[in-house]
Symmetry: C2
Subunit: 143 residues, 2 copies
Amino acid sequence: MNLSKKQIFMNYTAAKGLKSTRQRDIILDCFLSSEQHLSTEELYLKIKKQNAGIGFATVYRTLKLFAEAGIASEIQLGDGQTRYEHLHAGEHHDHLVCTKCGAIVEFANETIEQLQKDVAQQHGFTIVTHKLELYGTCAACTG
Amino acid sequence: MNLSKKQIFMNYTAAKGLKSTRQRDIILDCFLSSEQHLSTEELYLKIKKQNAGIGFATVYRTLKLFAEAGIASEIQLGDGQTRYEHLHAGEHHDHLVCTKCGAIVEFANETIEQLQKDVAQQHGFTIVTHKLELYGTCAACTG
DNA sequence: GCTTATATTGAAAATCATTCTCAATTAGGT
DNA sequence: ACCTAATTGAGAATGATTTTCAATATAAGC
């Protein structure tokens, strides 16, 4: 799976005439081996531990590149930081966010997706993406 | 309708021991007479045209106060700016956003709301709020 | 393997939206 | 009118992200 993500990214950079660099390899490995929903800064700090000397500007740039290449997608969960999650082709999911402990749970619901399409059609919109986030407290924090 | 929003706000400030000021009156009037979804900066510029000498810090502060008072709510539509919309008690709606012309259409769908609650319950979450945005192109821009 | 053109990098400066600081002003109760 | 606390405006400060730019590294051509 990681192999194919790397493939996709290499194909993308090749097609765009971009170069393959040590930094991008390191950042990609680190991203792929990370849990979901890391913010740019969190990933930057993680990378820095293993490989000093990679600037945060490069991490910002590279994550944007991952998103362009289609192997990552940006999410904003209301804490003012952009996070990136792994993107599996054709898949889509939404988020439950615990406002107390910050836990993030993913879910997918085909019926909701379909209703969204219906709503969009009623208003003449052609939907490209959507964002659905449910904010509240998780089981542990609700106690 | 505007009268009752003013009432709600006056009740809120009174209960909190806050004072009623010229600036807050102007900002409230301007907000109430504005279209939905204005960003803080847009509202600030609109106010400035009519009443020079109101600082942007005051507009920021006052809009936050409107949100606290329950007559406005903050929304983030992915353009990096916080927008405020009129909040009608008990009502909730979501947004269709045209990524070409920036048009924003509101919609409400009871079935989706119910499904969200179901999903949350399945994961043990107690939902407080949610955010649903559909991004795509509106009828005019799709052509 | 060396040259060359171009993409990339790191560091610092710049930007953008928003918040904070603080001295000066103002509202509201007494 | 007087006092106390809330409010204001301006600018500084903040935090996340982007840009700039000179130095460096990569891929392609010879």
